[in-house]
């Protein structure tokens, strides 16, 4: 009679444990993926997961069973049988894990060959450049990256990540380059990442499955690369092949009209980065419209910089157009400011940091 509620409690405990276990299991399944090779990785992952769960449950049960079953009773002073070992069983439990890991290794190698496969034929190529702390994507028609589409995608600002536009259903080749420190190009839904290491050439191929056209995905740098590592993100937009062709043609035309300058517009953004550098050497703005320049000094702590616009290099007689008012008007890292500039006539001007005149670039007004 007393036992009844106890048994009920055990049952509900069991249910809770079961529910938590099932939840953990579902959450531990391979995450959704949108690429061909990602599907294979996901299958491999799920196979490993099943084996892992069998091993895990088996071993944990063995531990718990032994711990509970062979508890020493009070006042039991007899010694259990002193077993020192058993060669036969030790050989068995060396062989079984050996076979399991060997099987896993073989399966891994098959999938690895597929993931790392690069088609030698010419195909759409994206050159990915990582730098502290953003991405640049350049499009090419061939994998040698010689025939450019004239399309370069960069972030409008640190907090507005760039969008990598890719077609579905076709093999895309990626070339990875780093301009400074190590980065890692990672899109979780591709179940894939590859490092960008200065001085090292990396590349991979990826095919996104057709049914995932028209979606946005989140990508991020996965290798610690300094203070703003966690802001080094990007978006991935998928399109059908025909949409992509339309997009890239329009984008190429637009960028050609802007003289290839980036950033471009009335809300410009420029950063000073380590060491004594601007993150761009070309800015562009529309003619006869007032615009702003958001300047963030991300260089080494304590170094002052500014941004000043001139008709041409002041050492060659250029006069000040706007931005910082002179060498005493600076922002010390870390810090930021916004310069407001009145509309300018069309033409090609010059900008620089008054403190470090090696930091300079073109300012295009159209």
């Amino acid at each position: 009679m007393i036992r009844k509620p106890e048994r009920g409690r055990t049952r509900s405990t069991r249910l809770v444990v079961l529910a938590v276990g099932m939840g953990a299991l579902l959450a531990a399944c391979a995450p959704p993926t949108i690429t061909d090779s990602g599907q294979k990785v996901a299958s491999l992952y799920n196979i490993v997961l099943v084996i892992a769960i069998v091993v895990f449950v088996g071993v944990e049960l063995a531990i718990i069973y032994n711990a509970l079953r062979y508890r020493r009773h009070k006042n039991d002073d007899t010694l259990p049988e002193q077993t020192h070992g058993n060669n036969r069983i030790e050989v068995v439990w060396t062989l079984i894990p050996s076979l399991i890991v060997l099987a896993l290794f073989v399966m891994s190698m098959v999938v690895l060959a597929d993931v790392n496969h690069e088609d030698p034929n010419d195909r759409l190529t994206v050159r990915v450049t990582g730098f502290q702390w953003q991405w640049k994507f350049e499009y090419f028609k061939d994998e040698a990256a010689t025939q450019a589409y004239g399309v370069t995608i960069e972030a409008a600002s640190q907090t507005q990540p760039p969008t990598l536009v890719v077609p579905v259903g076709e093999r895309i080749h990626f070339e990875l380059e780093s301009a400074d420190v190590n980065h890692s190009f990672y899109v979780p839904e591709w179940l894939f990442k590859r490092d960008l290491i200065p001085g090292l050439h990396n590349s991979f191929d990826m095919t996104i499955q057709p049914r995932y056209a028209g979606n946005m995905y989140h990508g991020q740098c996965a290798e610690l690369c300094g203070d703003f590592h966690n802001e080094m993100t990007f978006e991935v937009q998928t399109m059908t092949s025909s949409q992509f062709q339309t997009w890239i043609a329009a984008e190429a035309k637009k960028q050609a009209a802007q003289g290839g300058c980036s950033p471009n517009g009335t809300d410009l953004k420029i950063d000073a980065v380590p060491t004594i550098k601007f993150d761009t050497d070309c800015l562009a703005a529309p003619a006869n419209q007032a615009f702003t320049i958001d300047f963030t000094n991300k260089d080494t702590t304590g170094i002052p910089h500014n941004v000043a616009l001139y008709t041409k290099d002041p050492t060659q007689g250029g006069t000040l157009l706007g931005g910082a008012t002179g060498i005493s008007d600076t922002v010390t890292a870390p810090g930021s400011t916004t310069y407001k500039v009145d509309g300018l006539k069309p033409g090609t001007y010059y900008f620089q940091c008054d403190v470090h005149t090696v930091m300079n670039g073109q300012f295009v007004v159209k």
């Binding site: 959450a27 190590n182 990396n202 702590t301």
Partner: protein, 571 residues
């Protein structure tokens, strides 16, 4: 059995004089036991500091866009947290226990080079304080990750770690490297040359065996790290170009040399805990360790394989031959599996007493298993491409280093505390402590698997509010607080134990197997008045239950070290 009361000459001198003399005698000691205690004490202090950093990290991550710490400060927190836990807690605390226990277990009066031992000890706090002094630098402590990847951690060319916080970190690590290296040589010579008569290699307790393997790993991997750190220091301060690709250096080379050290380092951190668990399970199961020889061979196999798998940390660089490293990595699962089966078989048909030490040992088995199994996923290169540098890896390494190493170390605290102090830790409080640690560990680190699997990358101060990252991180943070409370309980348990009288018998648990239980608790400065005969790997057990009775004179222990090479009577 040996039970001597130490005659203290200071007992008759006046009080303030006596206290100063006591302090001086501790600071100038070359006694391996006092050195061990100081190692443990200083390391535990750093453990609390590192734990504080962990709680700060977890507090930041409770909200996805927390501004509690800025990015730069956050990077310092996780960098110094890792450095502290690895180099200033787990390594020195295991060295401390080994310092105390290994000479006792092999029946030696001290380490082979006692003054070198004292030198190693004092290098440790110097290096530790040097590293922590980085927080005084205007740019703060090192922020480039404990792996110190180049070129991020270069200074003059590119990167973003200009402050001297990184320089003192490098100097501190070089000093700790010298300390570890001298320690490793000392342990190897002690184990090879100072064993008592009858203590053949295959009668050595498993903890001594694992520390032998640990010392070999240190000896042959630490110098590579020293070379890499020296190169990085030269790059940063003398205009060198080792890791500067712009000037012909090689960035990837840092990773190769670092992980050639870094992977054996993982085994340096876990093997001693495996040894501790292998001491505790037989004692409280009242059975010998199942498959002693297999266990020794598995330990040596893990140590050897550890040198051939470094590039599995570098699969995503695309610059390593993945199949080779994947195969060797998979191979490590085999000796580890053998160890697990041996541990379980040791409990099988035993008579198990659940002391807190035993609970932590069983907790080690249950939690370390997760860290072992999720490592198999990472050993498969295509899966690693997805999981590398995500929270899956953070989860994996904490299951290994917290559920594994730290659980083993806590087990050692409960198990050897009566030997070291003569006092028992409170068992009831200990079991509450264990419950907090067990629940806290699972709650903190398991959700990280799911976060990582869904693409949350590591080392980020803020994270996107997608894929239930917020929920998972909050679970982790709450788990971390539970761990924090658990550790406070432990500190209370330790402090209150000092108010108890010294009551522990020589064989404090009444079930001891190895020689440290054959002397008084705490042992006299000279360790043993007499040694039991050593005819198996369990001399104290033999004396308690077996046929051998006649103690041999301790003086003999100091002369012919390896005189008796006859085989053990068992198996």
């Amino acid at each position: 059995m040996a039970s001597t009361t130490e005659v203290r000459p200071e007992a008759t001198t006046p009080e303030p004089h006596r206290r100063r003399a006591a302090i001086v005698s501790w600071l100038t000691t070359t006694d391996h036991k006092r050195i061990g205690v100081m190692y443990i004490g200083i390391a535990f202090f750093f453990f609390l500091l590192g734990g504080l950093l962990a709680e700060m990290i977890r507090t930041q991550l409770y909200e996805p866009d927390s501004t509690l710490f800025n990015f730069h400060r956050y990077n310092q927190l996780f960098t110094i947290h890792a450095i502290t836990m690895i180099f200033l807690f787990v390594m020195p605390v295991t060295v401390g226990f080994a310092n105390y226990i290994v000479p006792l277990q092999i029946g030696a009066p001290d380490m082979a080079f006692p003054r070198v031992n004292a030198f190693s000890l004092w290098l440790f706090p110097v290096g530790g304080l040097l590293i922590w002094s980085g927080f005084l630098s205007p740019q703060g402590a090192a922020s480039g990750g404990w792996t110190l990847y180049a070129p991020l951690n270069e200074k003059l060319t590119i990167g973003s770690t200009p402050g001297w916080g990184t320089d003192v970190l490098i100097m501190g690590l070089l000093i700790l490297g010298v300390s570890s290296l001298l320690g490793a040589i000392n342990f190897l010579v002690t184990i090879f040359k100072m064993r008592a008569p009858g203590m053949t290699m295959f009668r050595m307790p498993i903890f001594t065996w694992t520390f032998l393997a640990t010392s070999l790993l240190l000896l042959l991997s630490m110098p590579a790290f020293t070379a890499a750190l020296a190169g990085l220091f030269i790059d940063r301060n003398f205009g060198g170009h080792f890791f500067d690709p712009a000037a012909g250096g090689s960035a990837i080379m840092w990773q190769h040399i670092f992980w050639f050290f870094g992977h054996p380092e993982v085994y340096i951190l876990i093997l001693p805990s495996m040894g501790i668990v292998s001491e505790i399970l037989p004692v409280f199961s009242r059975k010998p360790l199942f498959g002693y020889r297999a266990f020794v061979y598995a330990t040596l196999a893990i140590a050897m394989l550890g040198f051939g798998v470094w590039a599995h940390h570098m699969f995503t660089t695309g610059a390593v031959y993945a199949p080779f490293f994947a195969l060797l990595t998979a191979a490590i699962a085999i000796p580890t599996g053998v160890k697990f089966f041996n541990w379980i078989a040791t409990m099988w048909r035993g008579k198990i007493t659940f002391t807190t030490a035993m609970l932590f040992a069983v907790g080690f088995l249950m939690i370390f298993l997760i860290g072992g199994i999720d490592g198999v996923f990472l050993g498969s290169p295509p899966i690693d491409y997805h999981l590398q540098d995500t929270y899956w890896v953070v989860s994996h390494l904490h299951f290994v280093l917290f559920g594994g190493s730290v659980f083993g170390i806590l087990a050692a605290f409960y198990y050897w505390w009566p030997k070291i102090t003569g006092r028992f830790l409170n068992e009831k409080v200990g079991k509450i402590h264990w419950a907090f640690m067990f629940v806290g560990t699972l709650l903190t680190f398991f959700p990280m698997h799911i976060a990582g699997l869904n693409g949350m990358v590591r080392r980020i101060a803020n994270y996107p509010d997608i894929n239930s990252f917020v929920l998972l991180n909050r679970m982790s943070t709450i788990g971390a607080y539970i761990l924090g409370v658990g550790m406070l309980i432990f500190v209370g348990n330790i402090l209150s134990s000092f108010r108890k009288p010294v009551t522990a018998a020589g064989d404090a648990w009444g079930e001891g197997n190895s020689l440290e239980w054959a002397t008084s608790s705490p042992p006299p400065a000279w360790n043993f008045d007499e040694l039991p005969p050593i005819r198996s790997e369990r001399p104290v057990f033999d004396m308690r239950h077996g046929t051998v009775h006649a103690p041999i004179a301790a003086a003999a222990a100091t002369t012919g070290a390896t005189a008796d090479e006859t085989e053990g009577t068992h198996s």
